[in-house]
Structures are given as C-alpha cells and as structure tokens.
Symmetry: C2
Subunit: 357 residues, 2 copies
Amino acid sequence: MRSRPRSNRQTFMPMSMDRIIARSACVCHFNGMFSQNPDDCVRKLGENELIERIRAWLGPVAPPAPYGMGDDCAVLPAVTTSRQQIITTDSLTFGQHFDASAHAHDAGAKLMNRNISDIAAMGGTPGPALLNLLFGPDLSLLWLEQFIAGIRQCCEKFGVTVVGGDISQLPPGQFTASVTLTGLTDSPPALRSTAEIGDTIYVTGTLGGSILHKHLHFEPRIKEGQWLAAHEACTAMMDLTDGLGKDLAALLPEGSSAAINLQNLPLSHDARECARKDSHSPQMHAFCDGEDYELLFTVARGTQSEIFEKQWQTRFPELKVSCIGRIVNAHPAGRYIDIESSEALPWQSGFEHFKQT
Amino acid sequence: MRSRPRSNRQTFMPMSMDRIIARSACVCHFNGMFSQNPDDCVRKLGENELIERIRAWLGPVAPPAPYGMGDDCAVLPAVTTSRQQIITTDSLTFGQHFDASAHAHDAGAKLMNRNISDIAAMGGTPGPALLNLLFGPDLSLLWLEQFIAGIRQCCEKFGVTVVGGDISQLPPGQFTASVTLTGLTDSPPALRSTAEIGDTIYVTGTLGGSILHKHLHFEPRIKEGQWLAAHEACTAMMDLTDGLGKDLAALLPEGSSAAINLQNLPLSHDARECARKDSHSPQMHAFCDGEDYELLFTVARGTQSEIFEKQWQTRFPELKVSCIGRIVNAHPAGRYIDIESSEALPWQSGFEHFKQT
C-alpha cells in the first residue's frame, strides 16, 4: 500500500437505506419485535437480569472481566508492535437500516457485519467489540434473544468478542444499536486517500438491488481485504456502503475524475430484478444503490491487469472481481464520465442523509 | 493492585437518573433543543455538510485520517508493551440522563465525563474516542454546536481525541449519544473484583443530591485514580454511577457484607438540601442517590489508615477522602449493616433500570 496521506476527506460512516425503507420508526407494534405481552417485554426484567441474559445469549463470545464485561472498562489484549490497531463504529436503527420484515437474527448479523466490513476495507482482522443497545420497554425478549444470536453467530465466524457495552431506554416502539469494533492489520492499513491519477478502479462481487436481499445477508470481505492490503499493486481501498455513486468520490484524488466502463459494471441479479420493477436501468441500480458491502479498490497504473486478475482468481476462485474504470485528470463534463463517450454519467452523486428540501 | 480475578459479576455500565428525571422523552419542543425553525434544524444540512460542521466544531481534538475520521476505520496510535489498553462505552439519552433544563454544553460535557470517569476508575489515562449521535431531524443546529463544544472542552482538558463516529436518524424530538473511549494504564488496571474480607472501604469527595447540580458538573477523578491504582494498599476500585447502595455490591467478594459507618458518610451540601425538601435523611441520599462520579475503593487490611490518609492529603489536599466502612464476613442481617449496631441498613439495594412492576 502507498502510505502517503492526502486529504481530510471524511464520511463518518453514513447510511443509505433511508431512500428505500420508510422512515417512520415510532409506534410500531407488529411482527413480534415489540410486544403487548408483559411476559415477553424487556421491562419484565431488571437491568442486571437483562444484562445477565444478554451475556448468556452471547455465550463464549462474551469473555469475563477484566477482558470482558463486568468492570468499569474492559482490558484489551496486548498488541505486538508490528501490528497496527484500528477501530470503527456503526449503528443499526429500526425503520432506517431494517424494517419489520427483517428477522431479528438477520438484523443482529447485519449490525456486526457492517462493522466487520469496515475492518475488511482496511485489510484488518476483527477483534474485541462493544455493543450499545437502546430500546423501548416494550421490546420483545424473544426478539432481542434472536438479535443477539445473530450477533453471536457473526462473532464466532470472525473471531470477534463482545467485551463491553451499555443499555439505555428509548420510548416504546423504538430500537437502535451500535457496535464499536477494534481490529488489527499485519500490513499497513489500506487507506482511501492513497489512490492516484492513472490507477484502475476495481470492485468485488456484483452490485445493486441490495434492498431485495443482500443488505441483510452480505459477506464481509475479510480475507479479500487482507490479501489486497498486502498486495503491492493495491493503492487504496474502501467498502461500498452508500453505493458506488457516492462512495467512489472518496477514493478520487483532488483534480481527478473517474472514467467508468459501464459495460464492466458487475450487475447483480437483484439489480436486474429492481430494474424490471421500476423505470431505471440495471446500471443505475448498480451505480446508485447502497449497501453492497463489496470492496472498492484501486490498482497502480502500470500493473498488468491480466496478471493481477489471474492472481485474484487463483486466490479467490469463487468471487468475481471487475475493473470498472480508471482515475483520470479532472474532466470538464463531471466527476464521473463514461469511458467510451467521455460524457458525464447521469448519476453524479449519491444520496444525502438528513437533507430534506 | 492485587491481580487475582474473582467473578463474572458485571454491571454493563447502567444508569440511574431515571428515578428522578421524568421518563417521557418523545415529542418535546422546548428550550431550544428542538426547533420549529427550518434554518436551525439539522435537516437543513446534508449528512456530509453536517459531519463537516461537527468536525469543525471539534477543531483540534478531531485529528485527520488515518488517525481520525475520514476512512473506514481510524488507526490507533501504537501502544508500548509496558502499558495496558482499556476501553469503555457509555450513553446519554435525552429524557433519561438529562432534561430540557440542562444546557447543551453541559450535556455534551457530561457524556464525555461519564466515560472519562470509567477510565479513571481503572487508573487509566484517556485516549482516542468514538462518538455515535442519534437525533431527530428537528434537532437545533445551535444546540448541537453547543453540545459538541461541551465535548470538545472535556477532550482538550483530558487529552482525548475524537477519531471516528456515526450519525443516525431518530424520530422528531429525540436525542441520544454514545461515546466509546479508549485509555491506557501504566500500573496494572484497578479492578472491581480484587477486594477481600477485612479491607476498608473508602470514597472520594462527598455523596448525594447530585440531581441538583453535580450530575452535570462533576470532575472525573483521573489523577486520583492513577495514584490509587499505583498505590500498593489499594486493592479494588470503581466509580460511583448508580449510587453507593447499588455500586458497592460490585466490590464485595462472595460471602461478605459491608459494615458501614454512617457517621463517616461524606454528605454533600446537596444531599442535605434534598433531605430538607423530602422526607428522607441526608444519609439516605448519600447512600442511594446516583451519579456521584466519585471513586469508591478498598484498602488492604493491615494498612495504617492514618498513614494512608496523610499520603492522600499531601497529594490531594483539596479533595476529601473518607473511610466509610469495612468488608466483613457475610452477615445474617444483610449485605449492608450498620458498623455500630450490626443491624441491616434500611437501603439494601439500588435502583433497577427497566423493571416496571
């Protein structure tokens, strides 16, 4: 990885399903998430008893104090000086990042996987995590148990431990949870800010239509991220959360544009499915839809793409990688241009959260 | 510090103002926290612009990527192997931990100070933090700016940096924020689980009546915690968040009780003030009220209390320390007994969050 930092460009790990999922989050009492049955509500339990249950549900992924919950802080394992420690945080809010059609287990897995995907995007290995839960007193205990089971399954799969957390009360009908996740990298962490003009742009997997299924069932690209961070040709990397159209801007150096090869956009089956249902093209869905959780990365100019792609296929025969364009000098037509026609793409920016005009 | 761990007892960093502050959190539009004026609402800004503002308000305590916001993760500074890394998280919810009478600056400071107090309770030095903000679209930008200013002031005072975070949307009229804070200890961290029968029980400062003022204006005991963690006589430590009556249980080994010297309970002015206003004693307020954010610690049996207290006074001449009792063999009368009469104290447990019978 190139290590020269460039700008203070930031993203604060934003979200994007808002566009698609209805925003009204309050006073929902359906699908078993909130319960009218007093015996199935979190309010039935005292705080300590509730926390004991959550620890029991987490099982072996919740180590005892001082390396886990049970003291004022958790003690983190020592880090050898050859490794770099990284940290990220991401939230999951009912009505915003999932709706009542989602199974509790999938929602819990999504929360943890969102954070693991951030660790993957730096080339790291996930480690200890902290969990903040905020919910109304009418949250179903059964739902919460399944939510925690989803978190536990991800933790077991990726070697994550839950070492601390916090519970707090919201008004009835509401739920939100945050995870803060630490990680370690062996190689220098893969950054967003180190791409240069002339680098080619790659993406893993297929894009678009995540709302139909994948936003709850994606696979964080941990092994792929580690391989890329250690690969001398990889110059910058991030994960796709808000959609290519918004996220790619974060990889572009100042004074550059991205020339996109629309033919090479890896369209997911669900991008085509969404296109069949609305007036947009599958390419629009692949370019603009959020929550792909694939890796977006750049490869140094001068790299022989055939060799790089062959190395990839040897290492990851089951996961497609696609060269979708190149970073070029800033083009008068716009930030994203069609590599064939040099005309601006019709989708120059992604969705902006909070703005309501 | 003794280093032998004991139990899996946990607390999950609970909260306690609920008893005192009204729980209704929803649909509040007063005191400038939520605004009907479109020009003063967070919804006026796009997410990126809002995050740019928050970064600008944080100023020098928000370092650039890769050691701060702006990439998928933040890179943490390397830790020398002689130091131990610790981590904690704590939330602040409108209607639960502060109400509309609180100034935004004080609310922000409280959120950060709650976490710093947890670091103090382990004998640590606070370091990089992450900030999760969740709020309705009608949150006042002016209020948010002042909230962030309160966070910044604490960060500058204690050397904390904000290296990452997340913003998420709640229904109108709502606000909650979480901080995850890392820290380092030079001495082995001071734990809760290492007290033994025969140890004496100490507390810093004065207790009770925090609701009148101190819960928004307390001083995390960082230097005191570091000094105690390095002191060979100190056997266990925690900070007082839910009130002595609830928190002390976490320091007691199995098969023990606490013999309390009620004459030595350090009554705050506000404990007396609260007692004047209600039917309870100042001792009840000192024993049961939450959010003192003082240090509760134990001193090894056999330590000469005069020498220990003189050392304290030399090092911290402005902060009182009080010996409030001793850990004794489990007493049939109860967990907390009067050291003079050996009768049970009337207050055997603290407040339990979420339980509503």
